[in-house]
Assembly symmetry: C2
Homo-oligomer: 140 residues x 2
DNA sequence: ACCATTATTGCAAGTCTCTTGCAAGTAATA
DNA sequence: TATTACTTGCAAGAGACTTGCAATAATGGT
């Protein structure tokens, strides 16, 4: 179970599994869109979980440090979104610029490109962001 | 000359060419890295141009509305950068995560991918962001 | 060249996302 | 159950960006 796996990661870095971390994890686990900190906060409020927005930020940052959560910066959104990486391949997203719906793109076309970039620029390529916007079927 | 071209775009939308717009344009024209609003502000201060940071934001937004400037959201930078589009092909960037240096990548591998995404998701794909981070030759 | 019109600017203040300091609360270990 | 030190919540702060409004300045007509 996810909570057990993550408990170990926390312990290994001198951290603890807490009520609030469980709540954030369980929300991310059952949600199928990447969530912003304020959305996590609002949803947990609705679920009667007592948590501060600051704690949400601290929690997603811990999970990111552990490599368990990906932080996404979508196109001009002005806020980050978070999704569980556990058991999922690296992938990208498309977001509807009308209704905000986000859909996973289960592909990444950049492996070959990375080599080409390293040759041309002499950079060592680390990470990349690739995010699309457009109009979803309902909003066209 | 760029200023003439842009004057026409401004006029066509009921706007005016002003001292501050000229200053921002001329800075973007002679700078070869995408600049953030605060960098534009700081550089113009140094150049003895009197301008407010608010005006910088308003100016880059006007230029963006006219389609003359691209707004870039680089990886987890927490601020946007702006560069002139005039006379340049669509392209992407790589940014050194140590020194912040930004280099243009004069390519975009996403034309074919766009079609594939439209088929799979039924979205109409609009724009995309693709930005790399890594280590530049000096910082490796 | 001057005036009237109206876009633009600068300043102050506000919004939003995210971070930090610190005292109080709580998980982990003996 | 007591000790230790990690976590939390609250208040306050930082940074990017926006908005309201009166003063300023660019345009177009005379």
């Amino acid at each position: 179970m996810l909570e057990t796996i993550i408990s170990q990661g926390l312990k290994a870095t001198g951290r603890r599994m807490t009520r609030t971390r469980k709540a954030v994890l369980s929300l991310l686990e059952r949600t199928h869109e990447p969530l912003s900190a304020s959305e996590i906060f609002a949803q947990l409020q609705e679920d009667q979980v007592t948590i501060d927005l600051v704690t949400v930020y601290r929690t997603v940052n811990v999970l990111k440090d552990l490599g368990l959560v990906a932080q996404l910066d979508l196109h001009h959104e002005g806020q980050s979104r978070y999704e569980l990486k556990e058991g999922r391949k690296h992938h990208h997203h498309i977001r509807c610029q009308v209704c905000g719906k986000i859909v996973d793109l289960l592909l990444c076309p950049l492996k070959k490109l990375t080599k080409l970039i390293e040759e041309r620029t002499k950079f060592v390529v680390g990470d990349h962001i690739l995010e699309f916007t457009g109009f979803c079927p309902q909003c066209q």
